[in-house]
């Protein structure tokens, strides 16, 4: 298609504007401002797009669990559910408490005493997350007849982590002790987790 409009060269390049002596010209300022505004708007849109994937209100509402442990006898343990994850509650026997206190804390992989793990006045109630700190399997030992591992606490069958009677890691690949959730005793027999 030949140009039939003579020497009409009418497609000015906006970028060839010479920069004035007083720096950035007004035209550049407006264009930069408009593009910046579009950028700010785009970033603002990310807020709802990202936060919609965070836990929704109904999930957050379930983040406290109330537990009645009045029926928990010495040596027994129960499993409960907290945030869709298992919680182990065990009432330790005097022998288990003794075994836990006899350990040289400084030699542990994740040093902690039983008193630090339990609540004051309730030193015999061990409350831990039933989630192995290695890769998240549920350890055995919270139920009658399950393998409690070499140290009489919990044993994770996935990769062989052994926890002692204070739920501290003693052998195997797990890096830390079983996690202790935030909880408190609201009465002698009621604990609120979360």
């Amino acid at each position: 298609m030949a140009s039939t409009t003579g020497n009409a060269d009418a497609t000015p390049d906006v970028n060839d504007g010479v920069e004035g002596e007083d720096g950035v010209r007004r035209r550049d300022f407006i264009n930069i401002a408009a593009v910046s505004a579009a950028g700010v708007g785009g970033l603002a849109v990310l807020l709802p797009l990202v936060s919609q994937m965070a836990p929704s209100a109904d999930v957050l509402a379930e983040s406290t669990t109330e537990l009645d442990i009045s029926a928990l006898d010495v040596g027994q343990s129960i499993k409960a559910v907290f945030r869709k994850q298992p919680i182990f509650v065990r009432r330790l026997t005097p022998a288990e408490i003794e075994a836990a206190n006899a350990v040289d804390v400084s030699a542990l992989r994740d040093p902690a005493t039983l008193d630090e793990i339990t609540k004051p006045g309730h030193g015999d109630v061990l409350v831990v997350m039933g989630v192995c700190t290695h890769l998240g399997c549920v350890p055995l030992g919270a139920q009658e007849g399950e393998n409690k591992g070499e140290f009489g606490g919990y044993f994770c069958p996935c990769h062989g982590s052994h926890y002692d009677t204070a739920a501290r890691i003693r052998k195997g690949p797990a890096p830390t002790n079983l996690a202790v959730p935030d909880y408190e005793f609201t009465s002698d027999t009621t604990i609120v987790i979360g």
Partner: protein, 285 residues
């Protein structure tokens, strides 16, 4: 060729649809269309005289009113109507403290399972529970209500045109059927177990007037519980249950529109700026 076929098809469709028109017009001309009672006596919904606090683009919740409305729902409506999509924890949005929500939740009974026997039994509700359904299933609801299942109220304010006004009008609109109605449309007289209400789509509904006397509810905040007041309060409460995010939505809207206006003005200036040198040069010849 395509055009010839097209013309024939076009004339064909036009012919057939005009045949429909002719038969329709003939029917319309020869048969008298009976006026229906619904058409003649149905009235448009209206809200309370002073409107609602959440009306308009700048509306806000009146928390005292929502709490009163909750009380009306609890003491009057909840005997028959469920609120399936609302959780008791949501009451926290009405200005109740966490402890109050817990205490309020404990006043409701929900179906549960006995942890020892596995039998179903009623238990005290906790905030994460949803409002309980007054009937175990639809059959029970129909059996208890003369075959008319009381609808769920969670979304009622959005499930009708001008829902908040509709609820208010319906609750305050019960009346004796007008003499003219009985005269002109004897069939439209409310049958047994039905009540005349000009705001209901077919004029007669199965729900007995739920709010009948001033002071039916004793408001905790001392507000005088007139029929109009209770109806407006529960309509406001049901507007909240239908869309708890209503006010957040409007309040988010203003900054968004403000920013867009600002950005659009900038875009306009940039466009004008860029196009300022876009005129072509004139031809020389």
């Amino acid at each position: 060729m395509i055009r010839l076929v097209g013309i024939l098809i076009g004339l064909g469709f036009a012919f057939v649809v005009l045949l429909s028109f002719v038969t329709g017009a003939y029917t319309a001309a020869t048969e008298e269309v009976a006026e229906t009672a619904e058409y003649a006596f149905h009235e448009e919904s209206h809200g309370p005289a002073d409107g609602y606090s959440f009306d308009g683009a700048f509306g806000t919740w009146n928390y005292a009113q929502l709490q009163r409305g909750y009380q009306v729902y609890k003491e009057v409506c909840s005997a028959c109507h469920s609120l399936n999509f609302v959780a008791l924890r949501d009451l926290g949005q009405l200005g109740y403290s966490e402890a109050q929500v817990k205490a309020e939740a404990a006043t409701w009974q929900v179906p549960g399972i006995n942890p020892d026997t596995g039998e179903t039994e009623m238990r005290q509700a906790i905030p994460t529970d949803y409002f309980p359904n007054p009937y175990p299933n639809d059959v029970a609801a129909a059996a208890a209500n003369n075959n008319a299942i009381p609808p769920d109220l969670s979304l009622m304010a959005k499930a009708r045109h001008h829902g908040s006004d509709y609820i208010y009008s319906l609750l305050t609109g019960y009346q004796e059927p007008p003499a003219r109605l009985l005269e002109e449309f004897p069939d439209a007289a409310p049958g047994p177990g039905l009540y005349y209400n000009p705001y209901f789509a077919n004029l007669n509904l199965a729900m007995a007037p739920p709010i009948t006397t001033d002071g039916q509810v004793t408001y905790a905040d001392g507000t005088e519980a007139t029929i109009s007041q209770m109806s407006a309060d529960v309509a406001a409460f049901l507007t909240w249950t239908a869309e708890p995010t209503l006010i957040k939505r409007k309040q988010t809207g203003w900054p968004v529109l403000g920013f867009l206006l600002f950005a659009t003005i900038l875009a306009w200036l940039a466009k004008k700026q860029i196009w300022s040198d876009a005129k072509p040069k004139r031809r020389k010849d």
